[in-house]
């Protein structure tokens, strides 16, 4: 919720420095490179839109996932034995000239938009370096300034009761306000921790496992991931999860007040959402301690010249 949209705006909105410069730079470098990697990745997948488990896998072998088209112009996605028609989206469509196009993913979803495996790979590997160097630099900085503690979930936050409460709050679009809005909640921590500490490293490792030279040098990659074709499948599943994360992330930004949230990620300055009392929800524990939080916040900001939350 944007503070300006509140029915009873605070006389002096509280604005704090919410995000470190390292976080902001990394966020936007990632925003660009992850999008380009997802889209160039779909270009590469267009070259062979079949996924396998194990060490090998080619056309004569069983694919657990396949995107294709029938002779009479029906696109389909098959996962295991489940087959769904995807004409127009996956596998088959008519291009702007009315000509059939049988690529797995449509041009608007790939980089470049026309079929060009060499170019797709070049984009992918260039931004793979950007992503990997960024991840290592961010991890080093976050260890140095202890920012990782803001993102790593505490044991008490992982208690099922606590998580269930947060899931209910999210589902009702009750976003934290005041002091609570200056911390990541458990669901955010789990998402960010999952992306930074699990998905990004896994997507890099599975990417490396597809490299025949890396497999020769580090054969443990093949043992760890169950073979090159398994690594390729896991790489794709990681990409799906990253895409889902981006969708939910963007949805949350829009719901929480896009201008305030995007400005905070560009300039660092964040207008702290202020609590609104809903009489019928006054017994909600999420709102119980809110009125005191702002006073505490003022104190904290005055006591800290940099004003960086935690």
């Amino acid at each position: 919720m944007d503070a300006s949209a509140q029915p009873n705006p605070m006389p002096q909105p509280v604005v704090v420095k919410r995000h470190l410069a390292s976080t902001r730079i990394w966020h936007w470098v990632n925003a660009l490179s992850v999008f380009l990697m997802l889209m160039s990745g779909l270009m590469i997948l267009n070259a062979h839109p079949r996924l396998y488990w194990g060490q090998y896998g080619a056309n004569a072998d069983h694919a657990w996932l396949e995107i294709g088209s029938t002779m009479n112009g029906r696109g389909f996605l098959r996962v295991g034995s489940l087959r769904v028609g995807t004409t127009g989206l996956l596998g088959y469509r008519l291009d702007s000239n009315g000509q059939p196009n049988r690529r797995a993913f449509p041009g608007w979803a790939t980089v470049p938009s026309g079929y060009d495996l060499a170019a797709g790979r070049r984009w992918h590997f260039f931004f793979a370096w950007v992503l990997a160097i960024g991840l290592v630099a961010y991890a080093a900085i976050s260890l140095g300034n202890r920012h990782w503690r803001d993102v790593a979930p505490r044991p008490d936050e992982l208690a099922p009761r606590h998580l269930w409460q947060e899931i209910k709050d999210h589902a009702r679009l009750h976003f934290p306000t005041g002091e609570a809005a200056l911390h990541y909640n458990s669901l955010q921590k789990l998402s960010y921790f999952g992306i930074v500490a699990i998905l990004l490293p896994l997507v890099i490792l599975t990417g490396l496992t597809m490299s025949p030279n890396m497999d020769a040098a580090w054969p443990w990659l093949l043992d760890l991931l169950g073979g090159r074709q398994s690594a390729r499948s896991i790489h794709f599943l990681c990409a799906v999860l990253i895409a889902l994360f981006i969708l939910v992330h963007l949805l949350m930004v829009v719901l929480a007040g896009p201008i305030n949230e995007v400005r905070a990620m560009i300039t660092g300055w964040y207008r702290v959402p202020q609590p609104v009392r809903h009489p019928r929800e006054s017994g909600d524990p999420a709102f119980a301690s809110v009125p005191d939080a702002t006073a505490d916040l003022d104190y904290r900001i005055r006591g800290n010249d940099e004003g960086v939350a935690e």
């Binding site: 080619a58 056309n59 072998d61 060009d116 495996l117 025949p212 890396m214 090159r228």
Partner: protein, 251 residues
Amino acid sequence: MITRRGFVGSIAAGAGGLLLSGCDKLNASPGFRDVLRSAEGLTLKAQRLVTDRQALAREYGLGDISPVFRANGNSMPASTDYQRHAAAGFADWRLTIDGLVRRPLSVPLDRIRQLPRRTQITRHDCVEGWSAIGRWTGAPLSILLDAAGLHQEARFLVFHCADSFGDTPYYESIDLVDAFHPQTILAWGLNGHPLPIANGAPLRLRVERQLGYKHAKFVQRIEAVADLARIHGGKGGYWEDSNDYAWYAGI
């Protein structure tokens, strides 16, 4: 009336469209392609830095062999000369080794089959994404190179092939790190049988730490050179010249 959410949504959609058409424009710009290509050199240097140059590709067991080894690229060279050799079971096939060597060679196929052989069950990874495991038997390339004796200035080996796409002959090239690698062989057998034509008979390069398009099929001549600029399109291989594939295909 424009709502804030609608406004943000249309900005996002507009930015997405700009990003996509911008990518295509950048992709068409030679300067930007060079920027992207710079990562290729970085990948080669970084991989060679952190990996053992002599590291062997994984060798699998007999039970891991693909039931069908997919053949890709040209499955039958169009040249009448090649087809005459194929009809004769490659009885008169000779491999030429020349260029920057002290003793240019013309080796009969039979002689190559009599050389010390190496058999390896390895995984073939296509640039498209699929993999097939096969049991390859052939002569280590290093034996032939030692027999020919490379000149000091030789840096690359160019593999001239009997197949072509249209009028453009297929060729590939590797550097000396891969040329003298113990698993780099000129294969004449696949899965216990003579190498099938679709897989590159009578001789196919196996360069196990790189992708499939580096594994030149139908090899008839190996040329040692100091640089690749004067060979065909100058980028070191048929796909490199025609479709801008990366010369280093270790990833």
